[in-house]
Amino acid sequence: MNAAEPDHKTLLAIYQKMALIKHSDDRVIGAMKAGRMQMPYYSARGQECIPAAISVLLNDEDYLVTIYRGVHDMLAKGLPAKLLWAELAGKATGSCKGKGGPMHLTYPSKGCMVTTGIVGASMPIACGLALAAQLRGETRVTVANFGDGASNIGAFHESLNLAAVWKLPVIFVCQNNQYAEHTSYAKGTSCERIADRAASYRIPGVRVDGNEPRAVYQAAHAAIARARAGDGPTLIEAMTFRFNGHLIGDMGEYIPKADYAAAKAADPYPRFRQWLQDQGHASDAELDAIDAAVRQEIDEAEAFAMSSPPPDAIEVKRDVYAYEIA
């Protein structure tokens, strides 16, 4: 089938999500630098295009499983900024009551099912959510996010094989930012392209420019259609970069200056904004209006987070089991 093209409305929806992710990330880091917030924060700034372009193809019912570096995935899928910010701030009003934090963001009503801090663990869990949909005969799909480094852990292999054998409706999305903590892609990964590993499971594998909304949209469109049709999983490798290191505080000494500069030059947010204008999809003013609305949403989210109460100590006795422990 010939590649799907996002329409005007969709392009602006993608831009809005990218803006939301970018501005939220800038503000979280600002709050941390200013000492208003403190946490182990894994910024996804630079990768915002990937979930933005995928999530416009998903419904609230579709499942998402992601990783510690998943704030962008969660915001794109619909986790309200207020609940995100309150969770990051460790407040009782956070989506996880302050119990989970950035590594365990969850919001089932928008399909945000699990966030894991264990490399590779998103994939087996995604297989289970997909099995649930398959057994119910639904067309609902599951998106499993993970990084390039995660493609070297056993769970990746087992999950892709199981999903292939059972034809599970999963879209495996490898966000290849070319580093695993401080280890470069080539130091840990024996294949040239992670997408090539799909051949070991006889499923489609495609590598795309993860900073190019239309490329991501087209690959996701095909993979989601395939999954909804009951034809099984797809592996998408989206090439990207993370501008703020592995964790806030990471100075990136291990990244060659030239590579960093090249990645910065391919920053998806300004690039897409420029493209939308060049193509006449939106004027500067229209895009500013989207950014302004997003900034407004984040102002409210931060205010909500800051003004919310911390969780009560009794919460350590709750949610261990269905009942409260002694």
């Binding site: 499983v65 996880c96 989970g100 365990h104 264990i118 869990i125 289970g128 261990v320």
Partner: protein, 330 residues
């Protein structure tokens, strides 16, 4: 257990009935693991026999990918199903610990109660069959030390049936441990549909002088020793914990309050085992009432050996158990 009951059955049959009845009762119950479907034999010891023929796609044999299918159980549970997943032998939990301890046991808490993981992990184990160092360990202590998951270990067909039904209905993850050599031991047959609550121990024999506490295979060692001592006029109370975590300390403490003496027995190696927790809690609660220190009878602190005489030396003997009980009475 009710030995008056006419009907007889073994643990294997009773577990198979429980799985059939649970799948009949609730269409969200699904079963998977290696060889569990009928084309693969309905399980290597046939506990899952007949399920796939009756319930089709809800029962699946998996590739040898424990990490993937354990995670699949976690995801399916989060997605609204009640998976019953089989880890063929308990030592193999070591290849999928992450999905059990970092995910199944923690998602409810980490999500602030937004998700939960109603799944059952069935597994079998036990020494005495020359299966050697990597196929025989009782590892329940690892999971008892993992908040968020429950640990159940029945010793007979009635409890096996009733606890498996309850485990499947439980809203939280349950590790269900089956003692391999016990599968074929005849016992009272369970009444189809009658469930046994998780977290409740059972007084297996009433007595006044000493309380002997065990679970799973230990019950088969305790019974003859208790009978022998009773015949001598030593009144032994026997408790089958049935659920190892959370512990039913009410039952244990009220018994030891009465007898003033206690012995804890399990097949898992002694050091840092379940017996240590039971012993500590009894001492903490009944220090003044105890007439003797709580004794622990368990296996040698080593891997499980292969040769039969060494397997015998690894496990506690009935003589050791008897001596430990007598010592508390000395």
């Amino acid at each position: 257990m009710n030995t008056e009951s006419k009907a007889r059955a073994n643990l294997l049959q009773s577990l198979n009935w429980a799985l059939h009845d649970a799948m009949d009762a609730d269409s969200s119950v699904i079963v998977f693991g290696e060889e569990v479907a009928d084309p693969e034999g309905g399980g290597i010891v046939k506990v899952t026999q007949g399920l796939s023929s009756k319930f089709g796609n809800r029962v699946r044999s998996t590739p040898i990918s424990e990490m993937a299918f354990m995670g699949t159980a976690v995801g399916a549970a989060v997605g609204g199903f009640k998976p019953v997943v089989e880890i063929m032998l308990m030592n193999f939990v070591a290849v999928c610990m992450d999905q059990i301890t970092n995910h199944a046991a923690k998602l409810r808490f980490m999500s602030g109660g937004q998700t939960h993981v109603p799944m059952v992990i069935r597994t079998m184990t036990g020494s005495g069959t020359q299966n050697g160092g990597q196929h025989s360990d009782f590892l329940e202590a690892w999971f008892c030390h993992t908040p968020g998951i429950k640990v159940v270990a029945p010793s007979n067909p009635v409890d096996g049936y009733g606890l498996l039904r309850s485990a499947i209905e439980d809203p939280d993850p349950v590790l269900f441990i089956e003692h391999l050599p016990s599968y074929w031991l005849p016992g009272a047959a369970p009444e189809r549909g009658s469930k046994v609550p998780i977290g409740k121990a059972r007084i297996d024999r009433e007595g006044r002088d000493v309380t002997v506490i065990g679970y799973s295979r230990a019950m088969h060692d305790i019974a003859p020793v208790a009978a022998k001592l009773t015949a001598e006029g030593i009144s032994v109370e026997v408790i089958d914990l049935r659920t190892v975590s959370p512990l039913d300390m009410d039952t244990v403490l009220s018994s030891v309050k009465k007898t003033g003496r206690a012995v804890v027995v399990h097949e898992g190696v002694k050091s840092f085992g379940v017996g240590a927790e039971v012993s500590s809690r009894i001492h903490e609660s009944l220090f003044r009432e105890l007439k003797a220190p709580v004794a622990r009878v368990a296996s040698n602190d080593s891997p499980v050996p292969y040769a039969p005489p060494l397997e015998a030396a690894f496990l506690y003997s009935h003589a050791e158990l008897e001596a430990a009980i007598r010592k508390t009475l000395a």
